[in-house]
């Protein structure tokens, strides 16, 4: 059985897997970006305990394999009375894990904004909130687009681990086809091609945004 045969024979299954990968990872990425930004804004707080909690969260998440985070949520959840379905558990796990990385990227972005731009805002009477919303965040986003999309690509690749907690995404689908057809290489090549298409599309979005916001780089 060739790769082409595999794709044509299992197309509906592969597409549903691709959709699951896109759906789960996109939601996880949105969650991770939002939570990551909140974490980083809290990290700029003048209250030391708040900063300390953010640092601890980031360090723990960055020091833990994402698979462990997923196991704890999915298999460990019931023991503390928290029963989660595979898909929400996957989104949540991947999201809270990615948030730590995004928070670090945001931090690097904020740090590379020249101090003088903030001083200019202060001298023009802008409030702290206006400085964050109108100067820091737009500038930070522009500076971090390459790193940000690198991490989003990582999120898509990490999402393969969701197969282990039984989410029917691409990798799970490939394993299923392997079991049904007893050919091994072809199904995995087929999903690799699909992963590659998705990741290439994400990377191109990144390049487009990078060019679009390149003034003053």
């Amino acid at each position: 059985m060739t790769v082409i045969d595999t794709i044509s024979q299992f197309l509906p299954l592969l597409l549903s897997g691709a959709w699951a990968t896109l759906y789960v990872t996109s939601l996880a990425t949105v969650l991770a970006l939002g939570l990551g930004l909140v974490l980083e804004l809290l990290n700029g707080s003048s209250l030391a305990p708040v900063r300390w909690m953010v640092r601890t969260y980031v360090e723990i998440m960055r020091g833990t394999p994402v698979l462990i985070v997923l196991f704890m949520l999915y298999y460990g959840g019931p023991s503390i009375g928290l029963v989660v379905d595979p898909v929400p558990a996957g989104i949540l796990g991947l999201g809270i894990y990615g948030a730590a990385y995004f928070a670090e990227i945001f931090r690097a972005g904020f740090q590379s904004i020249p101090r003088g731009q903030i001083e200019a805002g202060e001298m023009l009477g802008l409030s702290r909130t206006s400085i964050v919303l109108r100067i820091k965040i737009p500038q930070m986003l522009r500076l971090i687009i390459p790193a940000l999309f690198g991490q989003i690509v990582m999120m898509f690749k990490e999402s393969a681990l969701l197969s282990i907690i039984t989410v029917s995404e691409l990798t799970k689908v490939a394993t299923q086809i392997v079991n049904e057809t007893s050919s091994i290489i072809e199904p995995y090549i087929a999903v690799t091609v699909i992963y590659w298409v998705i990741i290439e599309a994400v990377a191109r979005c990144g390049l487009f945004l990078e060019r679009r916001f390149s003034h003053g780089a």
């Binding site: 200019a120 023009l124 409030s127 109108r134 500038q139 916001f213 003053g216």
Partner: protein
């Protein structure tokens, strides 16, 4: 665009109202003293040029006048209001962001490195604070921003991003941005030091025009020609103190302080 200053020379300089008053100002960075007791008055419509060697504390002094660097002793008042601190019984507490913004509402600042926001066009750079701080409606803010840009000769560059402008043009946008807030005084921190030599003139030209129209200005500069021509008062600093201050004639033609004489000699030799 109407400026807030009155025409110059009507009053004897010493009778004009004090805009910025500096008393016994000291500043340390950790254990290192940078300013060691500065007294200075800047009056309405006065142009004060602060000169001195590198490391003399002149930029730090200017930044203290805006509280961008918090001073450690003495006081700075802007039109009678204490800048940066509030007295609470015996103790002096730092003002919050909002209180500080209120006291320096009428102080504009122009930086050595322009500090324009690169993600906004020239027009947006100027208009932002008009909308956010002065709370003008979008069309009114845009109109005033365009006027300010025209005033610095950049009416046709409103849609350009900073990266599409020369250094001299960027600095003029920065001046327009400060000016559009209708400040009572503008502080210039080495406004031409980061510019290619052939671009210095256009920026000094704009500053000269402001001076003639009566804007109150404090300028840290290495442009001795500009100081000699435009300043009402020249202040010479070294090692965190003011060694001499006076009219340009007194400072440049009859310097009394030895350190100042030496500084001017070095500068004259260098300009050949």
């Amino acid at each position: 665009m109407a400026l807030n200053g009155q025409p110059r020379v009507e009053l004897a300089a010493s009778d004009r109202e004090v805009v910025i008053e500096v008393e016994e100002l000291t500043k340390t960075f950790g254990p290192v003293p940078v300013l060691n007791g500065i007294d200075l008055k800047i009056r309405r419509s006065e142009v004060v040029c602060i000169i001195g060697p590198s490391g003399s504390g002149k930029s730090t002094l200017l930044r203290c006048l805006a509280f961008l660097d918090p001073y450690t002793g003495g006081r700075v008042s802007i039109e009678g209001q204490l800048l940066g601190y509030k007295q609470q019984g015996e103790r002096r507490l730092m003002q919050g962001h909002r209180e500080l913004a209120k006291v320096r509402r009428n102080v504009g600042m122009v930086f050595q490195h322009f500090n324009l926001w690169p993600h906004m066009t020239a027009l947006e750079n100027v208009a932002l604070a008009l909308r956010v701080t002065r709370k003008l409606k979008a069309d009114q803010a845009e109109r005033e921003a365009r006027e300010a840009l025209s005033k610095v000769g950049l009416g046709d560059k409103a849609g350009n991003y900073p990266s599409q402008l020369s250094g001299g043009q960027q600095q003029r946008v920065a001046i327009a941005r400060a000016l559009a807030m209708k400040p009572h005084v503008i502080l210039f921190d080495e406004p031409t030091s980061a510019l290619d030599p052939e671009l210095v003139g256009e920026v000094l030209g704009v500053m000269r025009q402001l001076a003639v129209e009566g804007m109150t200005m404090a300028i840290v500069t290495h442009e001795m020609g500009f100081a000699a021509q435009m300043a009402d008062t020249v202040v010479f600093m070294d090692r965190g103190v003011i060694l001499e201050q006076g009219s340009p004639d007194e400072i440049f033609k009859n310097p009394r302080n030895d350190r100042l004489k030496q500084f001017l000699d070095t500068w004259r030799t260098r300009s050949f």
